[in-house]
């Protein structure tokens, strides 16, 4: 039933094949085009999952929940590959990258896609763990691709912290298996998601608790929750911008997805501790912490990396609160954040290329010198700051209002955090986009299409959401409980 033409397997097979191919092929134009093509095909396959969903096997599963993630991942992966084509071209010209590394880069890109898709469609918690580890390793390699001291060091930091995270996550996974074994019986079934979810109520609560603690810390490291976030800013700042976009836009989501799965597991077991409060706490900590960290940033990419931490905090908070409204808001916020943040990184990438630096101090008056880039960035920041009529406002509206009625104090902390973050972002935006032009003013040869495509989607979502999508999201929200 899982032939290579089956969409589920296609989502995995296409990137894998592309990776193999791209390692072999020389030539920048060709490989870039192939890269785009592969991601496009993957996206199409993912979309087709709407229509024909395969019955879950012991390894693969497609349900409402991960379908959201898959479509989002493949879409952003596609647009990012388009952006990366023009971006990497420029990198080649200025000689920051050599063709050899470029080949490697494209292969790794596809491998990352494969790993993330695998992690999403995996019906087996072990496979999921392996996939996430794979994704981490590929990104580690790509972060270090510039071979500068800073890049290598960032990659190294990412690698070490990531490995510890992986180890903790594995321990959690093992514990889940042990909790499941007495109920489900030995062997594969005790790791198959669809089986676990049906029997969760009978599991040993104490084991589940310990398991969740380890999973929260293990995958939380990938999500970038404070205080486990340390790798994130440097990895974003030092890697190639497309990778920063993918990291912020996708990898964090994938890790969060894993976390959500296990949260559902715990939620089904009445005797186990409620996962909500833990996630709420970590979410708030990340939000407030990141908001303050934004102020002293001098590197534009690192700043937006911290903003990603902030938003991951909000999303985790929303899912932690639970309930139909908050869960819906969390999903919406995650989608919007992926689109917006990657759009911002597209803009930032070109800006950094125009200015020849990532130091905020060396940028200024972009709306004068490069109006399209400048206004694109302004729009992006307005969106990420949660100002209407863009999509993030809706999710923040739902989060705050639904929370304030239930836990006022939390809502007030949340609001303060958001406000502090907004203040910091605009403080920097003012110097980057407005005022007297500063720094080099080259013409950017860039493809603005991906950026504006994302922003347009965010804009539309903020005003009008197609009912089908809404119903779908609401189902997922119910699923998450």
């Amino acid at each position: 039933m899982t032939g290579p033409l089956e969409p589920v397997t296609a989502v995995l097979v296409i990137p894998a094949l592309a990776a193999a191919l791209l390692v072999a092929l020389p030539g920048y134009r060709l490989t870039a085009a192939l890269n785009v093509l592969a991601t496009l095909l993957t996206f199409v396959a993912a979309v087709s999952l709407f229509f024909g969903r395969p019955r879950p096997t012991s390894y693969l599963l497609v349900d409402d929940l991960n379908n959201v993630f898959i479509v989002l991942t493949t879409f952003v992966g596609f647009t990012t590959s388009v952006f990366s084509a023009s971006y990497i071209g420029h990198e080649l010209e200025i000689g920051r990258l050599t063709p050899r590394f470029l080949r490697f880069y494209h292969a790794m890109y596809q491998l990352l896609m494969f790993a993330m898709n695998l992690a999403l469609v995996a019906n087996n918690i072990g496979v999921m763990w392996v996939a996430i580890e794979l994704a981490t390793l590929t990104t580690v390699l790509m972060v270090g691709i510039y071979r500068t001291h800073e890049a290598l060091e960032a990659a190294w930091k990412y690698f070490i912290l990531g490995s510890v995270g992986i180890a903790l996550a594995l321990f959690g996974t093992i514990l889940v298996y042990m909790a499941a074994r007495p109920v489900v019986g030995e062997g594969l079934d005790a790791m198959v998601w669809t089986v676990l979810i049906t029997r969760a109520s009978a599991f040993d609560p104490a084991l589940l608790n310990v398991a969740f603690v380890f999973l929260l810390l293990g995958y939380g490291t990938k999500v970038g929750l404070a205080p486990l976030h340390a790798w994130l800013p440097d990895a974003h700042a030092e890697g190639p911008t497309p990778i920063s976009a993918v990291l912020s836009g996708l990898l964090l989501n994938v890790a969060l997805y894993a976390l959500l799965r296990f949260k559902m597991l715990l939620a089904l077991n009445p005797a186990a501790l409620a996962p909500g409060p833990l996630m709420v706490t970590m979410g708030l900590i990340s939000l407030v912490f990141a908001a303050f960290m934004l102020y002293r940033r001098r590197d534009i990419k690192r700043m937006f990396a911290y903003s990603s931490i902030e938003h991951m905090g909000i999303i985790t908070f929303a899912f932690g609160m639970g309930g139909p409204l908050a869960n819906f808001a969390g999903l919406l916020h995650m989608t919007m954040h992926s689109l917006t943040k990657s759009a911002i990184f597209f803009a930032v990438g070109h800006i950094a290329q125009v200015k020849g630096t990532q130091r905020i101090a060396d940028m200024g008056g972009l709306t004068e010198t490069n109006p399209v880039l400048g206004w694109g960035l302004v729009l992006g920041v307005v969106a990420i700051a949660g100002l209407p009529p863009l999509g993030i406002f809706m999710s923040e509206f739902l989060v705050v209002t639904s929370t304030f009625a239930r836990a006022p104090s939390l809502a007030i902390i949340l609001v303060c955090g958001i406000l502090i973050g907004v203040a910091a972002l605009f403080l920097r935006l003012n110097t980057i986009a407005f005022g007297e032009p500063r720094g080099a003013t080259a013409k950017a040869e860039a493809s603005y299409l991906p950026m504006f495509a994302h922003l347009a989607l965010v804009f539309v979502a903020g005003i009008y959401m197609p009912p089908a999508l809404v119903v779908w999201f609401q189902n997922v929200a119910k699923l998450l409980g």
């Binding site: 072990g126 321990f171 790791m191 104490a206």
Partner: protein, 220 residues
């Protein structure tokens, strides 16, 4: 028979914890490496024992990996590196041996408390193993954060990972154990190569000597 298997497994797991403490106690790199070799050896034994008890032959592969890769290759490689970098001096610790030991005790106690809350009907063998595995993991982590020296931090990481393998093998009939242990061995190989490549003497965070403290994120 049942009692015996339980006792042996328990003994081996306990030994593993003990060896972790010994590692924590060492303050010379060579001695530390030897201790780690012992650690890996004990792990291999206990895995083999589990393989025998659960008569799951694939676990022997894991045992073999533990024996060959961790107990022999890695220590040798690290010896090599230490010679190369000429750092067979004292290990600079963050906290003294005594306090490290106390912390370790606390951690073991903690893992016991946490694990013994597990309801009794889960079979005792696995439960004890789990408790020990958890303590080994925690001790490994403790080692990573209390040592300033790259090599000893790796050793810490590896013993953490030994704890994982212990747990995985203790979980009866758990699939993918072999794959996981292989994956981890690759991971460790990466780290070791990385250290060798970047000539990290003192800490993880600097890529070479003159880069020490130069770049740390967002300065300047």
């Amino acid at each position: 028979m049942r009692g015996l298997t339980f006792d042996i497994a328990h003994l081996l797991a306990g030994t593993l914890v003990l060896v972790s403490f010994l590692e924590l106690y060492q303050d010379r790199l060579y001695a530390l490496l030897n201790m780690f070799a012992l650690h890996a050896l004990v792990l291999a034994l206990s895995v083999a024992w589990q393989a025998y008890v659960q008569n799951a032959p694939h676990l022997y592969v894991t045992a073999a990996i533990a024996l060959i890769f961790k107990a022999i290759i890695i220590p040798v490689a690290l010896h090599h590196i230490i010679k190369r970098l000429g750092i067979h001096r004292e290990i600079e610790k963050v906290v003294g041996v005594g306090s490290a030991m106390l912390l370790g005790m606390g951690l073991v106690a903690l893992s016991m408390v946490v694990m013994l809350r597990v309801t009794a009907e889960a079979d005792p063998l696995a439960r004890e193993d789990l408790a020990f595995a958890l303590s080994v993991v925690l001790l490994g982590l403790l080692m990573m954060v209390t040592r300033r020296n790259a090599v000893s931090q790796i050793v810490g990481f590896m013993s953490l990972e030994n704890g994982l393998v212990l747990a995985a093998t203790g979980a009866k009939g758990m699939p993918l154990v072999v794959e996981i242990s292989i994956a981890f061995s690759i991971l460790i190989a990466f780290i070791v190569i990385g250290i060798f490549l970047f000539r990290i003497r003192e800490r993880f965070d600097t890529v070479d000597l003159q880069a020490l403290d130069r770049f740390r994120g967002d300065r300047g």
